[in-house]
Amino acid sequence: MSHISTDVQSETSAPVTDTIWGVKILGWLNVLLGLVIFAGGMWLILLGGSWYYGLAGLGLLLTGLMLNRYMLEAVWVYCAVWFGTAMWAWWEVGNDWWAQVPRLVAPTLILILVLLCIPSLARHRTKSI
């Protein structure tokens, strides 16, 4: 995590050329969802429940913040969140596919959207460097 925060700082110092709306919207969406899931997740942890949501919410929030700064590393962070989610989901309910719907469908849709940001993020990085 420490190298990411360094990146965040170096990235903020780089001049932002123009706004990429798709990335921005996805970034804010992730911030919003991340906040909701993190807050609910903390509540659940306090009630003695699963730690997944608190952690996943944090990952989603971080992804959103990094997307808002056009950091390509956001993709890696989200991929980590997604793989963690998939492993946790398999551990909880295995191949019960109906039970997997809330666990995997929305996170996978977000994964696709995040992956679609790669070209824009890569272009932005080239420009700003």
Binding site: W43, W98, A99, V105, L109
Partner: protein, 708 residues
């Protein structure tokens, strides 16, 4: 939780695209109105004992031929070409010996006819229809009631109406739902074949009347009660429409019509009595009353100005008759106030949620078997019991809402299969001295699943799933029989919809297979302290009561708490259930061992989705279901009941769906099968169900193999 929609809608958009093909299915159902309409107005010739395949080698003991006497067994009608009883045969096995439709040819079934009862909700009845109608078939006729108790006879081969008799039931009489599960018929042994009302159709109505009409003409039976009617309000007390209503077909044993009534749940401790009454099937005279709290004093009715004991457990579902022993087996429900028990009498505690055997010749109870002690979960017995021979002993099989299946000795009520005992159950904080620390369970077979865990929480996205996990952790839950609580919600699993409910089970007596469809749904409940209760009991309400799920906000007047039930425990924003599917299934059980032969979800996801948007997913998800099955010698199970509006044929040996068709409305009713002129028909009514949230209809639909 208003953020939930975003991912959920994404999911729906994706699934809509996946399943466009299923849009084609409703068109199939539409074509059923093109069914043959050739009339055959010939007067129907009701008859019993049609060409009989031997139903089962059981102890019918020559009851089909001997001369009827009011104090001895009377002839039973035979299932086969006819479907003479609500449960098929007199034993309520829901097994038909017909075998023209087989596993090999069932895929060729085509619509034979559709009949419209034209009984659809108007005015204040909107949103309260749950007809649950199952016709009888006797001779050439189908005999049925509609949601509002219109008695109807229809030609069983063409769907042409023979007659109808409308008793004029007012909307205000609708209790929790406008329901008439069926009618019963009685052949007067002393009447000549052509006498009026020699064969009579008898129903109980929502406004608590017993009505008898001639099966051939629909004319009220002049010899029965007053102009063919008996008033069941007699001895009940203040007449509050909708509080006391008959929704089940009466049971007729040795010439005695036995009926209970639905007492609308959760209103007040001072509620109409759950008294069971027997009436002479010819004259309509009261033969006896069984008031469980005052059986001797009120046997011939209460004294002038008195009522039967108020608030006692009632029987809203169907009983089953035992002509041989002269008993009727009555599945009782709980006391009127379901979720608080400290004010109940010892008699209520003794009999609530029990199967009771009553000797119809005396009106006295012979034995009773209680399925839950000190019921504070609304675990009414909803399923009709089934008579069978269990390893050589005359037995009665009883499924419960908790999912337990018991087999009892018909004469003594002693269990013939192992009954276990749960001990050290939690007693909670509300009434710890009342709640029972022990409960019986069937060790022969239960439909109940394991207790819920946090990981069983569901939704369409991580956010609603998370919200349900929070609710799970916030609630009181110690597994099965978690007692009610007021400080926070408690989880009741299984919920009051079962397990097994009024659709009951079907028994293939030839193959020795029990077919049980069931619900697998929790309720999320909370007791509401009296000073916070806003709803009023039905006798204090102005105008028509609101519709809605039973117990959603019931006052339970007289007790210290009202009750709030989230039936099916659904997310309050999305309407999506908080627990993972399946919500219902169907199972085959080996009658010899009690072991599961196969088990599968019942119902596809095609009509279900968040915010009530149909997902059109053609996959089996296992939906809640209400209404039972028919099983046939042809090796088929016919069942609708699920909320996907499909009517289907399932292979009795494998559980595989071999045929299905889309109904124009919810099929929450028990199907039947019968034969006319050598052609086998299967039939179900598609009339919808307000609580199951399926579309309302008035269709009575039949299918058959293509004509030769």
């Amino acid at each position: 939780m208003t953020h939930t929609p975003v991912p959920a809608r994404c999911f729906i958009a994706a699934t809509l695209a996946l399943s466009l093909s299923s849009f084609a299915m409703p068109a199939v159902a539409q074509s059923q109105s093109d069914a043959p309409s050739a009339t055959s107005p010939a007067a129907s010739e009701p008859q019993s004992g049609t060409a009989s395949q031997d139903v089962s080698a059981e102890d019918t003991g020559g009851t089909t031929t001997e001369e009827a006497a009011t104090d001895g067994p009377q002839p039973e009608m035979t299932v086969g070409a006819d479907w003479p009883y609500y449960g098929g045969d007199a034993r309520a096995t829901r097994y038909s010996p017909l075998s023209q439709i087989t596993r090999g040819n069932v895929a060729k079934l085509e619509p034979a006819f559709t009949y419209h009862t034209q009984d659809l909700p108007e005015g204040s009845a909107e949103g309260k229809y749950s007809p649950e109608v199952t016709p009888l078939k006797i001779g050439d006729d189908l005999l049925m009631c509609s949601a509002m108790n219109i008695l109807i006879s229809v030609d069983a081969a063409t769907g042409e109406e023979n007659w109808r008799h409308d008793p004029g039931v007012a909307n205000e009489a609708i209790p929790y739902g406008a329901t008439c599960r069926g009618v019963s018929v009685y052949r007067n042994p002393d009447a000549a074949e052509n006498d009026a009302c020699a064969l009579r159709v008898i129903e109980g109505t929502l406004d608590a009347r017993l009505i008898a009409v001639d099966a051939r003409t629909g004319e009220p039976c002049a010899d029965f009660g007053t102009d063919g009617q008996v008033d069941l309000w007699e001895g009940i007390g203040e007449k509050v429409p909708g509080w006391y209503a008959v929704t089940a077909p009466p049971t007729i044993v040795r010439g005695i019509i036995v009926t209970g009534a639905q007492v609308k749940d959760g209103q007040a401790e001072d509620a109409p009595s759950g008294v069971i009454r027997g009436y002479d099937a010819v004259t309509g005279d009261l033969a006896w009353a069984w008031d469980l709290a005052a059986p001797d004093r009120n046997r011939n009715g209460p004294a002038e100005g008195e009522t039967y004991t108020r608030g006692t457990p009632n029987m809203w579902t169907a009983g089953v008759a035992d002509e041989e022993l002269g008993y009727v087996y009555l599945p009782l429900g709980n006391s009127s106030v379901d979720y608080y028990g400290s004010n109940r009498s010892e008699a209520e505690n003794e009999y609530a949620s029990s199967l009771v055997a009553i000797d119809v010749t005396t009106g006295e109870d012979v034995w009773h078997f209680q399925t839950v002690r000190r019921d504070v979960w609304d675990y009414d017995l909803g399923s009709q019991a089934t008579l069978l021979d269990y390893q050589g002993t005359p037995a009665v099989l009883l499924p419960s809402k908790q999912g337990d299946i018991y087999i009892l000795n018909r004469e003594t009520g002693e269990p013939l299969t192992p009954v276990g005992e749960l001990t050290d159950l939690p007693t909670g904080e509300v009434e710890p001295d009342f709640i029972s620390e022990t409960q019986p369970v069937s060790e022969w077979h239960t439909l109940r699943k394991d207790a819920l865990e946090e990981k069983d929480m569901w939704g369409f996205s991580p956010i609603d799933q998370l919200w349900c996990r929070i609710q799970f952790r916030r609630a009181n839950y110690d597994g099965f029989y978690t007692p009610p609580s007021a400080d926070k919600p408690w989880i009741q699993y299984p919920g009051y919809n079962g397990g097994s409910d009024w659709g009951s089970v079907a028994v293939d007596t030839e193959r020795g297979i029990l077919i049980a469809n069931y619900n697998d749904v929790p309720n999320y409940n909370q007791l509401v302290p009296r000073d916070q209760v806003t709803s009023k009991p039905i006798n204090e309400q102005q105008g028509a009561s609101e519709g809605g799920a039973e117990g959603a906000a019931d006052p339970q007047a007289g007790s210290p708490y009202g009750i709030a039930v989230n039936a099916g425990w659904r997310n309050d924003v999305t309407g999506v259930p908080c627990t993972r599917p399946p919500y219902g299934g169907i199972r085959a059980i080996d009658m010899t061992t009690g072991e599961t032969l196969w088990d599968r979800p019942l119902g596809t996801a095609r009509r279900n989705g968040p915010f009530g948007i149909p997902s059109f997913l053609p996959f089996d998800i296992g939906t809640p279901n209400n209404g039972g099955a028919v099983v046939t010698a042809g090796g088929l199970i016919f069942i609708a009941s699920a909320t996907d509006n499909l009517f289907r044929a399932i292979d009795v040996e494998t559980g595989e769906t071999l045929w299905s068709t889309v109904l124009p409305a919810g099929g929450q009713a028990n199907p039947i099968t019968y034969e006319v002129d050598g052609r086998q028909y299967v039939m179900v009514t598609a009339m919808g169900h307000h609580f199951m949230e399926t579309p309302v209809g008035d269709e009575v639909m039949a299918w058959a193999l293509p004509g030769q």
